[in-house]
């Protein structure tokens, strides 16, 4: 009879366990996807794509290596990209951050006009008209911002607009990556 009494508590215990997970779940974002590239610290996938500003010149992953930098995926059709653009300008100008851009599934003419009008924070912009590089990187929603280390490997990804709050995290990651590189 004693075991019977204990059995009566089983549903309660299961429910408490479930409740804990649900409670943790409230603070998680089910929509956010981790980047496989960043998880495995892989380099940016192979590509050979023209530069947006100078279409005659072809860019490859080597052009992204050399220093710790940000890689920003953007397009003129993406309203959030417009929202973060001003902040990227400030980062490039005031903080001296190196930012590369991937112009993702966009019309080159419109994109060049956008950079003329809203200024260009990017050191280089890769023209990814078909979205093939974006696909290889696992981009799922513009804008996305990656942290690259000096060898050109991906270390972190943020999905959504970059603002002061997000920059704090990015800055931390960049500092850490730089520290690791120094022996």
């Amino acid at each position: 009879m004693k075991s019977r009494k204990l059995f009566a508590f089983v549903p309660l215990v299961i429910f408490i366990g479930l409740g804990v997970f649900l409670w943790i779940g409230l603070s998680l974002d089910p929509r956010e996807l981790p980047s496989k590239l960043a998880e495995e610290q892989r380099p940016v996938p192979e590509f050979e794509l023209p530069s947006l500003t100078d279409p005659a010149r072809m860019l490859t992953p080597e052009d992204l290596a050399g220093e710790v930098a940000l890689l920003n995926v953007w397009a003129t059709w993406c309203p959030t990209c417009k929202e973060e653009h001003g902040y990227l300008n400030r980062l490039a100008r005031d903080e001296g951050v190196t930012i590369y851009g991937i112009n993702y599934k966009d019309e080159p003419g419109k994109a060049r006009e956008w950079l003329r009008r809203y200024l260009n924070p990017y050191k280089e912009v890769i023209l990814d008209e078909k979205g093939s590089l974006g696909l290889d990187m696992g981009v799922y929603g513009a804008p996305e911002t990656y942290v690259l280390d000096a060898s050109g490997a991906v270390r972190y990804r943020h999905v959504g607009a970059v603002d002061a709050q997000v920059w704090k995290t990015l800055k931390q990651v960049m500092a850490q990556v730089e520290q690791e590189a120094r022996p």
Binding site: L33, K36, T80, G138
Partner: protein, 168 residues
Amino acid sequence: MRTLMLWLMLLAPLSAQAAIDAYEFTDEQNEDRFQQLTNELRCPKCQNQNIADSDAPLAADLRREVYRMLEEGEPDESIIDFMVTRYGDFVLYRPRVNETTWLLWYGPFVLLGIGVLVVVLISRNRRQVSRSAADKPAAASGQYQASEALSAKETERLNKLLQQDSDQ
């Protein structure tokens, strides 16, 4: 609050458009495999849709890739690997069987085993009770027995009701 705003921004308007591509396949087998694969791959951008049903541009891109690889003669595994290297296990609606998913795949069967075991134990246990209680006339005649909570009068009333039911 910030996350909420972010969601609102990322949230595509709820729309129900059938995503139809009109690809032409070299043979029917490829077409069936295409339907199978696009039905089991999840669109990373959408709320909870496979890439076959979603009308998001990303889903269309992924369908195009599946189509391309199928026509190039790639086997299903390499198409699935292609997606997983880019988007992770998230894109698989059929989770792979590994140590992370053992509970998911085998848990229900373990539970079923426990359940059946409990049924067998209870039935056998009850049988012994009935045998030991055989000297009590009420139990032998299959009448409802008084549990602690029931007064003798209530039991009598119940038995009468139950009698009516079994007549039906």
